[in-house]
Symmetry: C2
Subunit: 129 residues, 2 copies
C-alpha cells in the first residue's frame, strides 16, 4: 500500500479503511495501545504472521504516520514500535470495533480463540518479574 497522501478518496470511511484494512494492521495497533513492543514480541502475539508480512504492515503503518519505529544500535538488534499521537487517536475507534466484534461473535457463535495470545503475554510478563 502506498502512502494515503498520494490518493484521492470519495469518503472519509474509504480513507480509514485504506489505512487500517487488511488482515494484520488493526491487531498490530491493538497490541501497541498500552505500551511499545519490539518486533519479536509483536511477532509472537500475532500467531501465524510471517516476518515478511509483519515487516510490510509495520512499514505501511509507519509511512502513514500511525506508528513510530525506534532503532537501538545494539547487537542483537533491538527495534521498538509505538503509537504516534495520531495513532493514539485511533485507539477509541479500535475499542469500539473490538467490542462490536465480540458482541457479533456472541450473537452468531463465531469462534474466537485468544488462549494462545494470552499465554504468550503472561509468559512475557513473568520473564520481566
Amino acid at each position: 500500500m502506498s502512502a494515503a497522501s498520494d490518493k484521492i478518496y470519495r469518503c472519509p470511511l474509504e480513507l480509514s479503511i485504506d489505512l487500517i484494512g487488511g488482515k494484520w494492521k488493526c491487531v498490530i495497533l491493538w497490541h501497541l495501545r498500552k505500551a511499545p513492543l519490539r518486533f519479536s514480541q509483536l511477532k509472537r502475539r500475532l500467531p501465524g504472521v510471517t516476518q515478511k508480512m509483519l515487516t510490510q504492515q509495520l512499514r505501511d503503518l509507519e509511512d502513514n504516520g500511525l506508528i513510530y519505529r525506534e532503532v537501538y544500535p545494539v547487537v542483537p538488534p533491538k527495534v521498538e514500535y509505538s503509537l504516534t499521537e495520531v495513532g493514539k487517536t485511533f485507539v477509541p475507534v479500535l475499542r469500539s470495533m473490538y467490542k462490536w466484534g465480540r458482541s457479533y461473535s456472541d450473537k452468531f457463535e463465531v469462534e474466537i480463540d485468544t488462549t494462545l495470545q494470552e499465554t504468550i503475554i503472561k509468559e512475557e510478563l513473568l520473564q520481566n518479574h
Copy 2:
C-alpha cells in the same frame, strides 16, 4: 468472502475487519444508515463501482447478517437493501471511523472529494419532491 461463522479468529478485531473490510462494505453500510436504498441508488452513490462488485459486496453483507434484501416482484425489478438490527449496531462504529478519517485527512492534507456523491443525493431528493 465466505460467511464468518465458518472461520476461527484469534481476536474480535480480526472478525470485525473481516466482516467490513475491503473497498466498498463500509461505504455501503454508511449510505444505508438512515434509510433503505435500491440497487441502482446505491450504485449511483458509489462512483466507480461495477455492477458485479456491488452485487458481490451486498451478498457478503447479507450472508453475514448485516443487511437485509427485499425483492419486490414488479417490472422493472425493484430490490431494496436495508440494515438489519445487527447492522444498525455497527453504525456508531462507522461514525467514529468516519470522524477519525476526516480528522486524519485534515491533519495530513489527504484529498477527499465528495462533491459528486452530494450532487447525486440532492438530485434524487428533488425527484421525490
